[in-house]
Symmetry: C2
Subunit: 205 residues, 2 copies
Amino acid sequence: MKKLSIAVMISGSGSNLQSIIDACNAGSLPAAVKLVISDRKDAFGLERAKKNGIPAEFIDPSHFGGREEHETACAASIDREECKLICLAGYMRLVTGWFVGKYSGRLLNIHPSLLPSFPGAHAHRDVLAYGAKVSGCTVHFVDENMDSGPVIIQSAVKVLEGDTEETLGKRVLEQEHKAYPEAIKLFAEGRLIVKGRKVTVDTII
Amino acid sequence: MKKLSIAVMISGSGSNLQSIIDACNAGSLPAAVKLVISDRKDAFGLERAKKNGIPAEFIDPSHFGGREEHETACAASIDREECKLICLAGYMRLVTGWFVGKYSGRLLNIHPSLLPSFPGAHAHRDVLAYGAKVSGCTVHFVDENMDSGPVIIQSAVKVLEGDTEETLGKRVLEQEHKAYPEAIKLFAEGRLIVKGRKVTVDTII
């Protein structure tokens, strides 16, 4: 099977990027990360990419007149590397309808809550403020709304008494590191069937 | 320990009522259901109550001029039986701020989803339409908003491929039958500490 070429877009530490790279290197994922794009210069994920010999680009949003112009530059890199799947992994920027349309059906995101609960940039804080007893993570196709789009995988995590954003975030992250490579594997194997909002997994015959 | 007197308000089958009665009878819950109120004449839960020797009242909303008048009649029965905890269990009627205020801190509800996701009367249908991969149930204190209020217990349930409202509902119900008696037990033991939206469980010394 030809390996799936992936672009990963990040804004920060890139621990989900690392889990994807690790799964590719371990051979458990028939894919290869061909490009890492960050919208922040100091994102540690850029270092992770370089350490693994993966082209890493900081594409500075402030150099462009608007979101689409910035995304056009990102897309030029993605298309140059012939990436077939684009994974947002802690990418803290809303993508436009243009970008979603261009990569329709091959743009994924991971979010650290059980969507539709607690969308947005402060999921763990919001979970704790609500007093929820269960949280988790969601891997989903991206549509034009924030933290929306058809759900591929969700994993539940118990909220414990005394949890802080940090302790809860750490346990959810452990599940993220399993869920994202698993979802990408299903995509790479061509097993994801999307009908409206529903994603089902084709059985291998 | 003196047993906690409970009133259970229902609209239908009353399977959660049954799980509470069973836990009381088994001695695992230091409580006794002293009254069952239904807003529907044909609610099977009324039969369950009678079989267990529990006073069961159909209080017909159509006999009253408004919601508060109906609730005033319910409250008269609750207070006559000296019930200290009121458990909504499949009670399909919104309660008023008056009722919530009167029984503040001792009015519970169970909802068949992981709130704040999928509130309302068709949780399983909404879960399936969204394509969520994890659902569950929530036991919470009731406030003036629908399916809101501080959360006591949540249990997660996987959504399976091919699930219908019925099959998902059945698996969630199994968790409800554990979660509601467990939450009531914590209440009966005086161990629930509510601060704002957060509910924590006091450890027994």
